[in-house]
């Protein structure tokens, strides 16, 4: 007979040999996100604030080609009202060869129009075209060492992207820290047009520090509550928003998961008794 304990022992031996080899130079802290874990859902107010940061700051340079205005009033997202989204879309001008003059006001069916500059302008300004933000939060991750990735299977940790973005936005240093070295151990030399970021791989990032305290003026929440107008708060809100933009159906997927797993557990119990009943006389 193959015993489970033997298998676990074999797996632990293999993993134990693996453990010492993991090391990481920057530790990116795990933030507490409302959408973490099987029970997590997006915080509508946070997504609305995050959208404001995205709209007023990020989208000046970054595109988000997969986002449509209509997504902003869909369930499980920022859930702006339909009227708000219509009004917002109408403030943008969309290139449309079929319209008079080749331009028309935006509608909710339109995709996010992107920054006014061309990619070539942006490349001239920053040295590269800023990445599209549609699925950016899923395209970034935090490296997980041995015990962590194993526990992630049970906690369903999938927030490496927002954790990284939050850490990156708070990782800027005004000056290269004393004693900083590059990958080869030589004193760190910051190339022209780059900024020092302790979280970014290689530490020389092309994006200037995008956020400053008090830069985005949040309106008070529906219940009159306010949040601090700090880089820390902005970066959390925008990271949450980017996660929603990358994974817009997270809430409904998890809700379906509970129904499916609940059903499967019930069915497995029933199947167990059916099987026992069938085998009763053969035992």
């Amino acid at each position: 007979m193959i015993r489970i304990s033997t298998i676990l022992a074999a797996a632990l031996v293999a993993l134990g040999l693996a453990a010492p080899a993991f090391a990481q130079d920057v530790v990116i802290p795990r933030e507490s996100w409302t959408f973490a874990g099987p029970f997590g859902t997006y915080d509508k107010n946070q997504l609305q604030r995050g959208f404001q940061v995205f709209k007023e700051v990020c989208s000046n340079c970054h595109t988000a080609r997969l986002l449509a205005f209509r997504n902003l009033d869909e369930d499980g997202g920022p859930e702006f009202s339909e009227a708000q989204v219509k009004a917002l879309a109408a403030t943008y001008t969309i290139d449309d060869p079929d319209a008079d003059g080749g331009k028309r006001p935006g509608t909710t069916a339109d995709r996010w129009p992107g920054p006014p500059q061309t990619p070539a302008d942006l490349k001239a300004a920053f040295g590269l075209v800023p990445p599209d933000m549609s699925v950016l939060a899923k395209a970034r991750n935090v490296e997980q060492g041995f015990p962590a990735w194993f526990f992630n299977y049970f906690t369903t940790y999938a927030e490496g992207g927002p954790d990284y973005i939050h850490a990156l936005l708070n990782g800027y240093e005004d000056k290269v820290p004393a004693g900083a070295t590059d990958a080869e151990g030589k004193p760190f030399a910051l190339p022209d047009g780059k900024y020092y970021n302790s979280v970014f791989p290689g530490h020389a990032i092309s994006m200037p520090p995008p956020l400053t305290d008090g830069q985005v003026k949040y309106a008070p929440g529906p219940d009159g509550s306010t949040v601090p107008l700090t880089v820390e708060q902005y970066s959390k809100d925008v990271a949450a928003y980017l996660m929603w933009m990358a994974e817009p159906h997270l809430d409904s997927t998890k809700a379906a998961g509970f129904e499916v797993i609940g059903f499967l557990i019930l069915l497995s119990v029933l199947m167990y008794f059916v099987k026992q009943r069938v085998w009763r006389n053969e035992h």
């Binding site: 080899a21 999938a158 499916v260 797993i261 499967l264 497995s268 199947m271 069938v278 053969e282 035992h283």
Partner: protein, 435 residues
């Protein structure tokens, strides 16, 4: 084939009319209903049914995805995002297909491990085993090509690295490489042919599965004691309802962790870089295959030295050989005893083999320069694992059959079942926690 089967005459006149002309029920009855199955099969024998279920799941979700997917290098990435965002239930269909690939491989590794432990490859089941290895190879090809379809960075670079392996073959390597890629580099023609083949291969797998089941039904199932059925009434039960119900129960149990990942963490087994659209000009910092290919990837990379042949070709030989060696397993294992339960020395080598396989999996995910113990890196220590992998098949199994003294076997299946105390009966779910 089976003398216990009697001809079934339907009482409904319409069904009888059809049955007289096309005897479908009488075709299915001996193979899926009356099929005599050893009564002592444990839960490791349920993975056959689980795999059939997974194949069906992948085909159904795959067809739904193909209805919305665009196999074009400029549009593939966005079309997968379109499925996730705008197709009704699209995120779920995609998540089930993506997670399903991992659970399909998890189940096939369980199934193969069971065959290795209980000697299911031994006479008279050699062809059954070989068909299984063919299915496994087809699964690998299908999974690899499916991974390329979303056209993310990992998709693209995995395609480049894996097709490149074939380029190392002397003389015919280059033409094969160009045929696989449809050109000199991975591009739109590669994506198009991979999509066509990714759609085709699962149906070929289904056909080989039919042969696999046919080849199973000639000698009948192996079983945990490895002693053949001697008395049909005492040693076997009908497949239905005994094993249909047990297999269904196991399949439902298997679906619980499957659903856990599909619904709560669908990208857990994937790589973040695959959310970046393929870019031939930017190489990812580390190219890693999916977890189920890692042991073989580790074997490929471990051969980084020249020995008579060039290291690249040698690596490809080791890589291909590590899978192809399974075809010869029925003749490499010289022991007359099937079940590992009655082979005291084999057991140890078997479990070391399993641990070694997991270790190779870990090596495959690391950079070769990663330190392991003292001054030794992955590139060094993984060579030991490669040696053990091949030694298991080429040295240990052939010699063990000669020198090992097996424990005495029970004289029959019914004896082994009746002798066991009731609580430890193999037909009770001794290990539901396994799923």
């Amino acid at each position: 084939m089976d003398h216990q089967t009697s001809k079934y005459v339907p009482s409904n006149p319409v069904v009888r009319w059809v049955e007289d002309r096309l005897p479908l029920i009488n075709f299915v009855k001996p193979t899926l209903i009356d099929y005599p199955t050893p009564r002592n099969l444990n839960y490791w024998w349920t993975f056959g049914a689980i795999l059939t279920f997974m194949l069906a799941t992948q085909i159904v979700t795959g067809i739904l995805l193909a209805m919305h997917y665009t196999p074009n290098a400029a549009m593939a990435f966005d079309s997968v995002e379109f499925i996730k965002r705008d197709v009704n239930g699209g995120r779920l269909i995609q998540a089930i297909h993506e997670t399903g690939a991992s659970f399909f491989f998890l189940a096939v590794y369980m199934h193969i491990s069971r065959g290795l432990y209980y000697g299911s490859y031994k006479a008279p089941r050699e062809i059954l085993w070989i068909l299984g290895v063919i299915i496994y190879l087809l699964m690998m090809a299908t999974a690899f090509m499916g991974y390329v379809l979303p056209w993310g960075q990992m998709s693209f670079w995995a395609a480049a690295v894996i097709t490149n392996i074939f380029g190392a073959i002397p003389v015919i390597g280059d033409p094969i490489l160009q045929l696989l890629r449809g050109g000199f580099s991975v591009d739109n023609p590669t994506l198009n042919r991979f999509f066509a083949l990714h759609y085709l291969l699962p149906f070929i797998i289904a056909a080989v599965v039919a042969l696999h089941i046919w080849a199973l039904h000639v000698p009948g199932n192996n079983n945990p004691i490895g002693v053949e059925v001697k008395d049909k009434t005492r040693d076997t039960v009908a497949f239905h309802p005994y094993y249909t119900m047990k297999d269904l129960y196991a399949t439902v149990l298997f679906c619980i962790p499957f659903a856990w990942f599909a619904f709560f963490a669908p990208d857990m087994f994937g790589h973040a870089d695959n959310y970046i659209q393929a870019n031939p000009l930017v190489t990812p910092s580390q190219i890693v295959p999916e977890w189920y290919f890692l042991p073989f990837y580790a074997i490929l990379r471990a051969i980084d030295f020249n020995f008579i042949l060039d290291s690249k070709l040698l690596g490809v030989i080791a890589f291909g050989g590590s899978i192809l060696i399974l075809f010869f397993l029925p003749w490499l294992d010289t022991s007359k005893v099937r079940s590992g339960t009655y082979r005291p020395a084999f057991k140890w080598f078997y479990w070391v083999f399993i641990a070694n396989f997991l270790l190779l999996m870990w090596y495959g995910a690391q950079e070769p320069a990663t330190p392991v113990i003292g001054p030794f890196t992955v590139a060094d220590t993984s060579k030991l694992s490669v040696v053990y992998y091949f030694a298991y098949f080429l040295v240990i199994l052939p010699l063990l059959g000669r020198y090992e003294k097996p424990r005495p076997l029970p004289s029959s299946i019914s004896e082994s079942v009746l002798k066991a105390p009731k609580a430890a009966n193999t037909t009770t779910p001794a290990m539901p926690a396994a799923h």
